[in-house]
Amino acid sequence: MIWTIVKKELIQLRRDPRLMGLIIVMPLVLMMLFAVALKLEPKNVKMAYLDEDRSFFSELIKTGLWSDGYFQMYEVPDEKAIIEEIRAGRASAGMYIKKDFSDLLTQNRQPHITLYVDGTMPSLTTAMKYNSSAATDADVTNDMYFLDENDTTTVIADTPFIMDTEVLFNPDEKETWFFLPGVIGTLIMQIALILTGITIVREREQHTLEQLFVTPISKASFIIGKLLPYIVITLIDFYFILGVGWLLFDLPQPSSHLLLFALAAVYVAVMISLGLFISLISQTQQQAMFVAIFIIVPSILLSGFIFPIEAIPEVVRAFSYIIPFTYFVEIIRGLLVKHTLFIDLLPAYGALFGFVIVFVTASILKFKRTL
């Protein structure tokens, strides 16, 4: 009896090319993402530095950091700019070497240098702190001990200089500050994609679409009528989740409520229009669910929501930039945690808006008023 059913299922599977794609291609792609994208350590983390000393010794520190391959370094004109670079998201770390560094060093007076790290992503913060030790390695410090053989009273410190690490924006490195803003986005993504993803295909499956297409209802009123409830529900949900975050989880307030609303609106529009497109290309609710999950899982993995984008190798990182959620994560962290300036968030807003146009256009092209 069981075997009869098994055989029938296998025959059905073999005859449905889409299902095969879903049960074979999807796991393959996801496994590759897991294996390639998430095991590797971050590389090429951007560091903005200012070196006022410009001495042989400050070069040694920079070379130590640079040759380790972890930080990608570029110079900025003043100390304020270091923090601005990190706030805008162009750099994740910064370093400041003061003018008197080599003077103090040669006098064995243990000068300080400052390392700034972005605290919004605690996992990256930890990694950056760990990797900055390349600057205090024996390779670097070997040449920094100055012993005057004639002066026996000189006490040589263990380390010739001290590196102070300053965590910016999230000084306590609170994990909730890191995760919660992104969680809002994943929830909205799941709700919007799954709700709208099945909405039209459900009508198709239950034959109500056939009955509806006979009526004089226009394409536009059908689509808008179908989507409007979901847009409203998801927007309300957005603020509901945000409210819970503020009330219960110590989520910080945004730098601008207007910009936050703009983000909610454009992000909900992206997800609803993507859900609509899924619904139009699927023949059954099951297919629509599969496609939705196929989008949701890599979005969570590749967006920088859990793992910093810097941790994703270049080849796979291209995918990060075609995922709308990536831009959401960037903007919401900018608004809630880093208080990034609008001008620096503009490209991400633009990208989200571009997704809306792409998905809406694709849906219009795909939607036919016939079966």
């Binding site: 239950q206 056939e210 009955q211 509806l212 006979v214 004089p216 008023r369 016939t370």
Partner: protein, 298 residues
């Protein structure tokens, strides 16, 4: 009222509807007859504009389908109303899509189809017969001139089926045009006009009476006889026998004119071991249906 010219539709490069033309007059009950997979549903969907024909034109009430949307209603083969909505919510939903606001009319429709007691019942909880009535009521909400019904009585008990057909006659008497697909013979016989399609092609068209002549020059013999496989194969082995058709204790034998009654009786006596009395009779639609379908298949 409905004019279709040379409709063609292919799926995966196979022609499922091949040059079908129809002309349905106002007030007629027009039956589209054919075996499963003949293309009946495809034809009715193209007539309603929910499926795009590859070629050919359709006019309803002298105008294009898009412009005639208010003039026709459609009841699909499958229950296509919303299970989660009540009877009344479904009806008012469809009515409002057509801009109909007259509640008294809608209440009268529910009354006419015995749906009033179920006004607040969820459509999904209705029995098969009542679901069909709800579908019909929703299609009638805007008082259309033309009604398309795709296998309206499939899977319906005989009592409800009779009620529905009585109603179809009443609608036709009110001047409405009904386009019905079916593969029930007794329903086909109730239509004013019939079109018979098989494998997407038009086989015969006309009144039920004239369709019977589509078999051409044949004799139809009838005999009261229980089914026996030996008998059937012995008869079908005779040169010139078109088909045998067993109805319970009655057997129909359709033959070309060259086969004589005596020749058949002789063969049957030999098989059965006793004398058999054949009588000449009229072909019924089922004989025609099977013979034409077989002819198309061979």
């Amino acid at each position: 009222m409905i004019q279709a010219v040379s409709l063609v539709k292919s799926f995966n490069k196979i022609r499922r509807v091949d040059e079908i033309s129809l002309d349905v007059k106002q007030g007629e009950i027009f039956g589209l007859l054919g075996p499963n997979a003949a293309g009946k549903t495809t034809v009715i969907r193209m007539l309603c504009g929910i499926m795009q024909a590859d070629a050919g034109t359709v006019k309803i009430n002298g105008t294009s389908i898009e412009k005639a949307k208010h003039e026709f209603g459609y009841v699909a083969q499958y229950f296509g109303q919303y299970s989660e909505l009540s009877v009344w919510e479904n009806l008012t939903f469809y009515a409002s899509l057509y801009g109909v606001k007259d509640e008294t009319r809608l209440l009268n429709l529910l009354e006419r189809y015995q749906l009033s007691p179920f006004k607040t019942t969820r459509a999904g909880e209705l029995s098969g017969g009542y679901k069909r009535r709800l579908a019909l009521v929703c299609a009638l909400a805007h008082d259309p001139k033309v009604l398309f019904l795709d296998e309206p009585t499939a899977g319906i008990d005989p009592v409800t089926r009779k009620l529905l057909w009585d109603d179809f006659y009443a609608l036709s008497a009110e001047g409405k045009t009904l386009f019905v697909t079916t593969h029930y013979m007794e329903e086909a016989a109730r239509c004013h006009q019939l079109a018979f399609i098989a494998e997407g092609k038009m086989i015969a068209q006309g009144t039920p009476q004239s369709i019977k002549s589509a078999l051409g020059d044949v004799h139809v013999f009838s005999v009261d006889l229980s089914y026996s496989p030996e008998m059937t194969s012995a008869i079908e082995a005779i040169e010139g026998v078109v088909l045998t058709n067993q109805f319970g204790e009655n057997l129909h034998i359709v033959t070309e004119k060259k086969v004589s009654k005596e020749q058949l009786e002789a063969v049957m006596r030999r098989v059965k071991g006793e004398a058999v009395q054949l009588s000449l009779t009229e072909p019924d639609l089922e004989d025609v249906f099977i013979a034409l379908t077989q002819g198309e298949a061979s």
